[in-house]
């Protein structure tokens, strides 16, 4: 509690907007490039968002660099090898009714993850309307989709290791670096999805229990959503650069 002792969550929105906030009075009204300069130049907080959201964004920025390093490493070994790179379209094909369908499992995984992003976005929306039952339900749907994704990835890994004989140090199809790049990148992404599922379950549980009802601050759902959308975002890049390239 700072300058104001009135709890804004307890009053209607119009009154809350009129509550006196001393620290953010001026430059907040300036938008565009002048707003950028005003936000950075004064001796006060730069980002007009809660610390939780700002920190999540900065964490995601650092994660962007980690995944980019993996993908750049993958590019480097693929460019520099003189042995032909295994064709992902054939490696990841599935037999359906006697026909080889290229990349079928990967396509399904992509759709599952995109759907989970959609339900997450809706969960954030419901949370801000303080409809916590719907928000928590949508978060659980999101987490379930994530769990299905990890399950399909486990299936894909087992198939590759047991049936196709792909190892981090070599494989029967071509360049030896294929396995190490594949296991490293998809493994790290799968780990992120798994962590995200646990994170979503925890937040959904606390949401249902009514932990955020007292403060009326449901931004935690949006912050969890940021992480989840980021996991989907990384998959977009892996799908394009590893599976389709």
């Amino acid at each position: 509690m700072s300058s104001t002792t009135i709890d804004p969550s307890s009053m209607p929105r119009a009154e809350a907007a009129a509550a006196p906030i001393v620290s953010h009075a001026g430059p907040d009204s300036v938008a565009g490039v002048r707003g950028l300069i005003a936000d950075w130049s004064s001796d006060r907080e730069t980002f007009k968002v809660s610390w939780g959201k700002a920190m999540m964004w900065i964490f995601l920025l650092s994660d962007t660099f980690i995944f980019s390093c993996f993908l750049t490493g993958y590019m480097t070994v693929r460019v520099s090898t003189t042995v032909p790179w295994p064709n992902p379209s054939e490696v990841f094909a599935l037999h359906v009714g006697g026909v080889e369908v290229p990349l079928l499992l990967i396509a399904i995984m992509t759709f599952v993850l995109i759907s989970s992003s959609g339900t997450m976005a809706m969960a954030v929306n419901f949370a801000y309307r303080r409809d916590r039952v719907n928000a928590a339900t949508l978060m659980l749907v999101t987490a379930t989709c994530g769990e299905i994704f990890v399950g399909m990835q486990a299936f894909e890994w087992s198939k590759l290791i047991l049936e196709e004989g792909i190892r981090p140090w070599g494989n029967p199809m071509g360049a030896a670096q294929f396995g190490s790049a594949f296991f490293m990148i998809t493994g790290f992404h799968g780990l992120h999805v798994t962590c995200g599922v646990i994170y979503l379950f925890v937040v959904a549980f606390r949401l249902l229990r009514g932990d955020y009802e007292k403060s009326g601050n449901y931004q935690i759902v949006e912050i969890a959503g940021l992480y989840w959308h980021f996991v989907d975002l990384v998959w977009v890049f892996i799908f394009a650069l590893f599976y389709l390239w």
């Binding site: 509690m1 700072s2 709890d7 804004p8 929105r13 906030i21 620290s23 953010h24 907040d28 938008a31 565009g32 490039v33 707003g35 950028l36 936000d39 980002f47 007009k48 968002v49 809660s50 959201k53 964004w57 995601l60 920025l61 962007t64 980019s68 390093c69 750049t72 490493g73 590019m75 480097t76 460019v79 520099s80 090898t81 003189t82 290229p102 396509a107 992509t110 995109i114 759907s115 992003s117 959609g118 976005a121 809706m122 929306n125 801000y128 403060s215 601050n217 931004q219 959503g225 940021l226 959308h229 980021f230 989907d232 975002l233 977009v236 890049f237 799908f239 394009a240 389709l244 390239w245």
Partner: protein
């Protein structure tokens, strides 16, 4: 708590409530774009067309997710620049490593084949 009051201060100050219709629209677009990029592989398009389409669909999807699902379109410029500008440094890394990889490939073909 200041953040609580901030949420009601309007654009860019944390409260991100947007019409559900918009989310559904973007969701649909992401499905269409994913299907299109899958079809690139299904029909085995090759060469520049393949790389161009893959990159274009990838960037469109990434842009939609960041702008709408992650609400970046409604944040203030200070946050947008702080998050979106640093990754541009990665382009330098990618450029350097592409040169390096090409050089390694060249020496490998010269001395080991």
């Amino acid at each position: 708590m200041q953040t609580e009051a901030d949420q009601h201060q309007g654009q860019g100050s944390g409260h991100q409530e947007h019409p559900i219709k918009l989310y559904l629209f973007v969701w649909g677009l992401l499905f269409v774009l994913s299907t299109l990029s899958y079809l690139v592989d299904y029909f085995q398009l090759q060469g520049l067309l393949r790389w161009g389409l893959i990159i274009a669909f990838m960037l469109l999807k990434a842009g939609l997710i960041v702008a709408v699902f992650m609400h970046m379109a409604w944040e203030r410029l200070a946050l947008i620049y702080a998050i979106l500008l640093p990754p541009l440094a990665l382009l330098v890394l990618v450029g350097l490593m592409a040169l390096e990889g090409g050089h390694t490939f060249l020496t490998r073909t010269l001395f080991f084949h």
